[in-house]
């Protein structure tokens, strides 16, 4: 068995009296897609935020390709190859689509203390940015991000994550708020991407989860109550009782 790409050990996060992450252990192996499911308030988004560096855990450790990153700042983790898409769409509204993605390219090309040359006509930035937009299927790249539909903005987020050349994609409900048609398209897209990227996927759409995931971890009240192949999870009576039964 290969060493895990991401490893979480005994992670704890509390908000006042509320326990969001409760001595959690889990891992993501290279090339694998791990889906994280669980009822609302199970602590999925807080976990993603701790992995990405938006939140600092109270105890425990996070390792990314063997390096401890528990207290590393978010931008440092991003440069190591951890890319997150947000549950609530998070883009730069006043920039164009291509500028949004070009910023992600720019970030991995080193510092941005370049004051004179026009960034929008710099093919080292716009080239990879357009490629990423093409992969996610977004056309008309010079539209402002504030003008595109919700579904397209989710695609834009994904393009920004891809432009970071990540080693692990942290996708927080990439299909949230999407119509049926957009959702199907996103599932197909993720299915293609999963050949090239390791992913951790938080999603409520069970069809998408069972279609995409290699393994599924079920989170309830900050604890992983089960981890296994999709068919195992579907059959697990404990999971059915705690989660799937409610649907």
């Amino acid at each position: 068995m290969t060493a895990p790409l991401l490893e979480v050990k005994q992670l704890v996060k509390r908000f006042g009296g509320l326990v969001a992450t409760d001595h959690l252990d889990l891992d993501v192996r290279p090339g694998e897609t791990l889906a994280l499911i669980g009822p609302n308030g199970a602590g999925k988004t807080s976990l993603i935020a701790q992995l990405q560096g938006d939140l600092t855990p109270d105890a425990g450790a996070i390792y990314f390709s063997g390096v401890e990153i528990t207290r590393r700042p978010a931008h440092g983790r991003a440069l190591m190859g951890l890319a997150r898409s947000f549950q609530i769409t998070s883009v730069f509204p006043e920039l164009s689509l291509v500028q949004n993605v070009a910023l992600a390219v720019q970030a991995r090309l080193g510092h941005s203390f370049r004051f004179w040359r026009d960034a929008s006509s710099d093919s080292r930035l716009t080239g990879p940015a357009r490629e990423a937009l093409e992969i996610v299927g977004l056309s008309y790249p010079s539209r402002p991000a504030s003008d595109v539909s919700h579904g397209e903005r989710r695609q834009l987020e994904l393009a920004m994550a891809l432009a970071m050349q990540p080693r692990l994609l942290l996708l927080d409900e990439p299909m949230a708020g999407m119509g049926r048609e957009d959702g199907v398209r996103m599932t197909r897209l993720l299915n293609e991407l999963k050949r090239d990227y390791a992913m951790m996927l938080v999603e409520h759409d069970m069809n998408a989860v069972f279609a995409l995931a290699d393994r599924v971890t079920v989170l309830v009240a900050g604890k992983a109550i089960a981890t296994g192949r999709p068919d195992e999870i579907r059959a697990d009576p404990q999971v059915r009782a705690a989660y799937l039964g409610q649907k």
Binding site: P73, H75, A78, P93, E94, S112, F115
Partner: protein, 335 residues
């Protein structure tokens, strides 16, 4: 606030900058035609404050940082030039070390350097905070600078500091009304072009992105602090240049120029003109200063009207005069 910044076309902005500079360049001609030299004096003031407002807008409009300490930085620039001239005048030494000078080719860069360094130091403290904290801290720093110069009795204290000797630029007399005006205009043109390039560079993209979504920027791997700090120092240096030009032009600088109300005025100029474009604050400075003159000649209670006008702009003209221009342009086109 911006109408549609993504449709930002650098070429049309360069065009706008060219037109603005050309119009300003024609003012002395108009002044001599109508025989009113006072016009050049007003225009000089407009150009100088336009430089300061453009500097502020770099951090305000593009960096989203509501700084209320720019009048202080502006004043520092003015005092650098005035203090150098003061020591040149009585042949004494600054800090018992440096001789003074009336040469602007030394005074202006030094003014930028000192103001930029002050902005960097104070920015380091204020930029670690955000929101209301940032606004209040910059306001407090502005007052610190103000009281500092009020207390500097050696350099005139509250009464300000007169520049007694004639300033020169590369050895030539620099303060003839016409030559000084055109000198300031060249400075404004340079500042506009530099800032225009800057906001479309990689650096500028990071700065603009940091004001729109700081969390996102961090998540893609860019920590905004050092970019903001650099922008703040740069903005301070340009504000210092403007202050130095003001002091040189009127041969005088006083703490009154750096009161926090002046800082507020600079913010109003940016918002009034329009913060979405580099050249917006130039329009704002022109309208603000001309209005100030017109209204104050009209009534002693002109500040009442001025205050109401500011409120009106906030309530109804969110994109500033630029939006008004767009509106007029669209109506003209549809006709």
């Amino acid at each position: 606030m911006a109408s549609s910044p993504a449709s930002y076309r650098p070429s049309s902005d360069m065009m706008a900058i060219t037109v603005i500079v050309a119009v300003l360049a024609a003012v002395p001609v108009v002044a001599s035609l109508v025989g009113d030299p006072f016009l050049v004096k007003i225009a000089t003031r407009v150009v100088v404050f336009a430089i300061a407002a453009v500097a502020l807008n770099l951090v305000l409009g593009f960096g989203g940082l509501v700084s209320l300490m720019h009048a202080g930085l502006f004043g520092i620039g003015g005092y650098v030039v005035a203090i150098l001239a003061f020591h040149a005048d009585d042949s004494s030494r600054l800090f018992d070390l440096f001789p003074g000078t009336t040469e602007l080719s030394i005074g202006l860069p030094l003014a930028m350097l000192v103001a930029g360094a002050a902005a960097a130091v104070m920015g380091l403290v204020s930029l670690r905070t955000s929101g209301v904290y940032f606004i209040m801290i910059t306001l407090a720093f502005n007052q610190m600078l103000y009281y500092f110069f009020v207390a500097l009795q050696q350099y005139g204290g509250e009464d300000g500091l007169q520049i007694m000797s004639d300033l020169t630029l590369f050895g030539h007399a620099a303060i003839g009304r016409m030559s000084f005006y055109y000198g300031c205009l060249v400075a404004l043109a340079l500042v506009l072009v530099v800032v225009q390039r800057l906001i479309n560079s990689r650096f500028g993209m990071v700065l603009r992105a940091s004001s729109q979504n700081e969390r996102r920027l961090t998540a893609i791997g860019i920590a905004p602090l050092r970019y903001r700090l650099t922008a703040f120092a740069l903005s301070g240096a340009i504000a210092g240049l403007a202050g130095a030009l003001l002091a040189a032009g009127q041969q005088f600088i006083s703490p009154a120029e750096m009161s926090w109300v002046r800082s507020g005025d600079l913010v109003v100029m940016c918002v009034l003109g329009g913060m979405a474009r580099v050249w917006g604050p130039v329009l704002g400075a022109a309208v603000f200063l001309v209005l100030e003159i017109v209204l104050s000649g009209w009534s002693t209670h002109w500040q009442l009207a001025f205050g109401l006008l500011i409120i009106l702009v906030v309530v109804s003209l969110r994109g500033g005069l630029i939006d008004l221009l767009h509106l007029v342009g669209r109506r003209g086109a549809s006709r």
